[in-house]
């Protein structure tokens, strides 16, 4: 099988899996006072320190969660509630138009249920947010903004955003700035303190750790109303018994991913560049989407004019090649991607897109396998598009 869908989830690193299994054999609730509890707590706190150390955070800023979705919900809803409670004039939430649904739908929910006003930052054709747009918004509505959320890197087209610039604008106005760095950690350098962000989302299963565990890095002075109430763990912001083996394995993976990032990035972007060149040579009218420079090393995203991304996916899957249309599903029906639409693509181009993402296990042989199958699949998918033409 050629697995070209690492942005969906990437295999666990062997050292992370080993750490998971070792910790899972032990007993102890990190909140318990006895020896077993103390031992578990030690594992959790060491993990917190390891993560903080490699991501430029203080240990107390690491809040363990169940993953990216929960961290994004907490950073948007939780910070919104806290900021509005502190000053009822604040009722606006800012996010880029190309956020993951975990942010997008949280903001929509705030608009629908909490009468929040959503401000969507537009992107250019390469999917980049223009800091000037944020500056203008802050000028106009600075006093009313609760939280600003812009992803570090896009999960579909791989565009990396000018986070430091955006965070600086927010910091100057005293508005909390959250960044969803789920796709970025381990792929590009990510340093929480240096970025100037107030909150940062990271998840285990995109960087070689287990699924179902992640963290929100949350500045000490950033208030967030808890979404989960209970035992008061994690600064009282996120209740729930800590998943010791998950946290341990997550920390091992974060540390490994960050430490190997430079070599990883060089190797994988080489592979990716080879893939892109070969796709363009084989299918000259393929459109390479996203930013050619500010881009995740493992991401290659194309539109294949005249094809349905769905059909390509089916045809490649049948030949053992796993990739993604990158778009969200409702009832399994692919909707045109909001990311491509925000980039100005028409519905046909959005629907004809396919995402290949590489990761730490990727090899040249997988790209060879893709290239053996893709041209035929594109040709076939083009023919299949004719089915849409209504007949009398």
């Amino acid at each position: 099988m050629a697995y070209l869908d690492h942005a969906a989830t990437t295999p666990m690193l062997p050292e992370s899996l080993d750490a998971y299994v070792a910790a899972a054999r032990e007993i102890g609730n990190p909140s318990s006072l006895h020896a077993a509890g103390r031992h578990a707590r030690r594992l959790v706190e060491e993990s917190r320190e390891r993560i903080a150390a490699v991501l430029g955070a203080r240990p107390s800023e690491v809040i363990f969660t169940s993953g990216g979705t929960e961290s994004d919900n907490l950073a948007t809803k939780g910070v919104f509630f806290a900021r509005r409670d502190a000053d009822s004039r604040r009722d606006r939430v800012v996010a880029s138009a190309v956020e993951h649904h975990a942010v997008l739908d949280s903001v929509d929910w705030l608009a629908a249920h909490e009468s929040a006003v959503a401000d969507w930052l537009p992107v250019d054709a390469a999917c980049r947010v223009d800091p000037a747009a944020l500056a203008a918004l802050i000028d106009e509505h600075g006093d009313e903004l609760t939280v600003i959320s812009v992803q570090w890197a896009n999960n579909e087209v791989g565009t990396v955003q000018p986070i430091a610039e955006l965070a600086a604008l927010a910091a100057r106005a005293g508005i909390p700035f959250h960044t969803d760095a789920v796709q970025a950690v381990g792929q590009v350098p990510v340093d929480f303190a240096a970025s100037g962000a107030s909150a940062l989302t990271v998840t285990g299963h995109k960087l070689g750790g287990p699924v179902g565990v992640g963290a929100l890095l949350l500045g000490r002075d950033v208030g967030a109303t808890p979404l989960l109430h209970g035992g008061g763990q994690e600064r009282d912001v996120r209740s729930g018994t800590l998943d010791t083996p998950g946290v341990v394995a997550f920390a091992v993976a974060v540390e490994a991913a960050v430490k190997t990032q430079p070599e990883y990035s060089a190797r994988v972007s080489d592979l990716r560049d080879g893939l892109v060149a070969r796709v363009r040579a084989a299918i000259p009218d393929a459109i390479y989407n996203g930013d050619p420079v500010h881009r995740l090393p493992g991401n290659a995203h194309f539109s294949f004019p005249g094809c349905e991304g769905d059909a390509l996916l089916l045809l490649l899957d049948a030949q053992g090649i796993a990739c993604s249309t990158g778009s969200a599903c409702s009832a399994g029906v692919a909707q045109p991607s909001h990311v491509l639409v925000a980039m100005g693509a028409d519905a046909d181009r959005a629907r004809s897109s396919l995402r290949f993402t590489l990761g730490h296990t990727s090899t040249g042989a997988e790209i060879d396998a893709l290239m053996a199958a893709l041209p035929g699949a594109v040709e076939r998918a083009r023919r299949a598009t004719a089915w849409k033409t209504p007949r009398g």
Binding site: D310, A311, L313, L314, L315, D317, A318, C329, S330, A331, G332, V333, A334, R380, A381, R383, A384, T385, A386, W387, P390, R391
Partner: protein, 365 residues
């Protein structure tokens, strides 16, 4: 794969027969919440999940294909305009003709597949003949008879040799959780089963007369002729009782004058049925065979002629409730399953020399 038991078992059998099978669920609603919810319908999120789960158990790839636009144009809009024209359409038949064995088949062929397998209860064996299922009560050959030779050659119906009970047992034995799912009934795109309300919402109210077919007397009013079907007795709400006190039935619907004509049961009887758009697999006509005039309707012996004008059936015994827009399907009785000779869309039924529903035809076009 609708998410029901039949298509799940059909997929499993096709796979077991050595075919390279891919499961496809059709998303037919523009808004998945608006179609029937729960286990009975065919187009809900829950059904899509059930279908996916069945595909996983069988071990085949599974995809959802969005056919909402085509379904709307070819089936839902057609359903409404047929009623508006005074005819009684069969949307399941239309869906087989235009969606499953046209839109889906065309796309599948283009993607490199050879055939469309469905869980219909009908037999299609090596001889290429379409026959009734062994389970007469569940037989669906009536709604498949519209398929041309070309389409039948690309179709597989693996369930025709089994009864519904056997299919359910097999589903349970295969560990398919859909084994106990209730059968779907009614029309999948009318969420609450209220066809009249659905049509009223699309066509608006359009009051007109209910007329006595023998005397021409106006007996009452209706809110829209589309709400009536030929042979209907209930819900006429007539103030004036019939002179003989017997119930009255809808005999015909005339959109041009917006009238519904009613009369006694005996006036419903027709002995000649004409139909257009014939699909004929049988040999030369006239031929004596059996005809079925409605889904799950009675079967009567007839002499059937097919020519360039369409199909004409002279019934050996009169039939009632013959509605324009329904299919007439001709069968040749056979011990190995009655064989479909062909089908056509009913335009009119008539009795002796007198035309009963011909005005429906004239008005409809």
């Amino acid at each position: 794969m609708s998410g029901g038991v039949d298509s799940a078992v059909a997929a499993a059998r096709a796979r077991e027969a050595g075919h390279d099978v891919t499961g496809v669920h059709l998303a037919l609603s523009r808004n998945p919440q608006t179609f029937r919810t729960g286990a009975r319908g065919c187009c809900t999120l829950e059904d899509s999940r059930d279908a996916r789960r069945a595909a996983d158990v069988i071990g085949i790839p599974f995809y959802v294909w969005d056919m909402a636009e085509q379904f709307h144009e070819s089936v839902v809009d057609d359903f409404v305009s047929e009623y508006a024209a005074g005819r009684t359409p069969n949307p399941c038949l239309r869906c087989n003709e235009k969606i499953k064995f046209e839109a889906v088949l065309d796309r599948a062929i283009a993607l490199g597949f050879d055939a469309v397998v469905t869980g219909h209860h009908a037999r299609l064996g090596a001889d290429g003949l379409l026959r009734r299922s062994v389970d007469i009560a569940k037989d669906q050959s009536y709604v498949l008879a519209v398929l041309t030779r070309e389409k039948l050659d690309r179709a597989m119906f693996p369930l025709g040799d089994s009864t519904k009970t056997q299919v359910r047992e097999e589903a349970a034995a295969r560990g398919l959780a859909v084994a106990d799912k209730p059968d779907s009934h009614d029309i999948c795109f009318i969420a609450d089963g209220d066809t009249k309300g659905f049509l009223a919402g699309r066509l608006g109210e359009s009051p007109g007369d209910i007329v006595d077919g023998r005397t021409g007397t106006v007996l009452g009013q209706h809110d829209g002729a589309y709400a009536y079907t030929i042979g209907q007795r209930k819900g006429l709400d007539l103030r004036v009782p019939a002179p003989d006190g017997k119930p009255r039935y809808v005999l015909s619907i005339t959109p041009v004058t917006n009238t519904v004509t009613v009369g006694p049961r005996e006036d419903l009887a027709v002995d000649t049925v004409t139909a257009d758009r014939p699909i004929w697999h049988g040999s030369s006509t006239p031929v004596e065979c059996e005809v079925q005039l409605r889904a799950h309707g009675e079967v009567v012996t007839a002499d059937v002629t097919v020519d360039s004008d369409g199909l004409t059936a002279r019934l050996h015994s009169p039939a009632r409730g013959v509605a324009a827009g329904q299919a007439i399907v001709a069968y040749r009785p056979d011990p190995a399953g009655d064989i479909v000779l062909g089908s056509a869309t009913i335009t009119a039924g008539s009795r002796a020399a007198e035309t009963v529903a011909a005005e429906t035809v004239a008005a409809g076009v």
